[in-house]
């Protein structure tokens, strides 16, 4: 079979809505797009646990401490599941788990802008749980329909756990929204700090060439802007209902166009944060990741040596 025929057959499968497995033939471009997307997703789950883990020792009650710890464990677990999917895709290129993890602190893979930001107060931790997870859930829900089967299966499990994250985040926010004036102010400050990052999270408004290719292969089926609009649909009324002010004087729903009008985030600023790891917490968290990974290398090696010693007996 020539390459052209193979490609045409592959595209027919995609267009019929069939799912692709790791062992199927796939165009290099498809493989590379998937690796880029899933690697970034995996790494973002892991780096996403950092801002919240910072609140484990400082959570206000024991129950809150246990709950946020449970959530941090989930996010690390999501990272592990996704890295497995990325590894199978990257294996033919000679890349292993070690490489994919090292890429984080060697700045060879990006992670979501929101996880470069600082969680100064408990309200920040709450807003991450409610709105950052909320935005991530919208993204992941849209990916359930992806053409790559191993990714779809893992996402199904991730989404099931995200439904706890959703309730958990809401519960923190609702408690603060019913609290003292000081707590309400803390919540408002947190929303002010995160709002722009949340809009940026969904990515550029225009469909970039890479995004266009992902739509072509049905790796994604929705554009950034469609997802941002869905996020605004679901969350803006709730944010308003608990008495918060969204820090955007131009935010409104255009009844005629049936869409939200909003002030665009500073694309340039957040773009730099993601590309060059220039966020307030980027360097510190990457350094922590490096210490964790390299500091424990001897343990991984010792475990492999002991396994080989037993196998040899």
């Amino acid at each position: 079979m020539t390459e052209d025929v193979r490609y045409a057959r592959f595209m027919e499968r995609i267009e019929r809505g069939e799912k692709i497995e790791a062992t199927d033939w796939m165009p290099d471009e498809y493989r590379h797009l998937l690796i880029k997307l899933i690697h970034m997703h995996a790494v973002s789950e892991i780096m996403g646990a950092y801002p919240e883990k910072e609140w484990v020792p400082k959570a206000p009650t024991l129950r809150r401490k246990l709950a946020i710890m449970a959530k941090v464990q989930d996010e690390m677990g999501h990272g592990q599941l996704l890295l497995r999917v990325a590894e199978d895709l990257a294996a033919p290129l000679g890349k292993t788990r070690e490489d994919l993890v090292e890429d984080v602190y060697k700045s060879r893979v990006k992670f979501h802008n929101v996880f470069h930001m600082e969680a100064k107060t408990w309200a920040d931790a709450g807003v991450i749980g409610w709105l950052v997870d909320g935005a991530a859930i919208i993204n992941q829900a849209a990916l359930l329909e992806t053409s790559y089967a191993p990714y779809a299966r893992v996402l199904k499990r991730i989404c099931a756990e995200e439904s706890f994250h959703m309730q958990h985040g809401e519960n923190i926010i609702l408690a603060l929204a019913m609290g003292t004036e000081e707590q309400k102010q803390m919540l408002q400050d947190a929303l002010n700090y995160w709002w722009e990052s949340l809009l940026f999270f969904f990515g550029p408004k225009e469909v970039t060439p890479a995004a266009e290719r992902m739509l072509h292969y049905r790796i994604r089926t929705k554009t950034n802007e469609e997802l941002r609009q869905k996020f605004l649909d679901k969350y803006v009324p709730r944010i308003w209902s608990i008495g918060l002010t969204i820090p955007d004087p131009h935010l409104r729903y255009d009844e005629e166009k049936k869409e939200w009008v909003y002030t665009e985030p500073d694309w340039e600023k957040f773009g730099r944060i993601v590309r060059y790891n220039e966020g307030p917490k980027s360097k510190e968290r990457m350094e922590l990741r490096r210490t964790a990974h390299e500091g424990q290398r001897w343990v991984r090696e010792a475990m492999i040596r002991s396994r080989m010693a037993t196998a040899a007996v």
Binding site: A67, A141, C159, S163, E170, S241, I242
Partner: protein
Amino acid sequence: MEEKQTEYSIFEVFIQRTQAEHHVHVGSLVAPSPDVAIQTARENFLRREKAVNIWVVPRDQITATPYEPDFFTREMDRKYREVAGYTENGRLWRMFKEKAITLEEIVAYVEGRKARERKKQA
């Protein structure tokens, strides 16, 4: 002296029903080789049902837990880890004149379907 193997090996069988699901263990069989195990698995487990993939794994390649409750006991109430631990959200949202939403509703909304349709499909 080399011992002749006279017994077939035991294989555990895992079946994937659709590509949206993981492989699920359905039982085991004996076979002289992995190829024959696959054929036998299809005959034993898929005479009526549909599937998209089969795995056969030599039983001695599986490492399992013992059936000891200790390994699985939860040392304390773990409601904080579950959706069910947050039922008060519904009541709290009503105080703010909003209603609670679930992840299923979000997924259905993103996929452009109504929540009930999705359940029917699943």
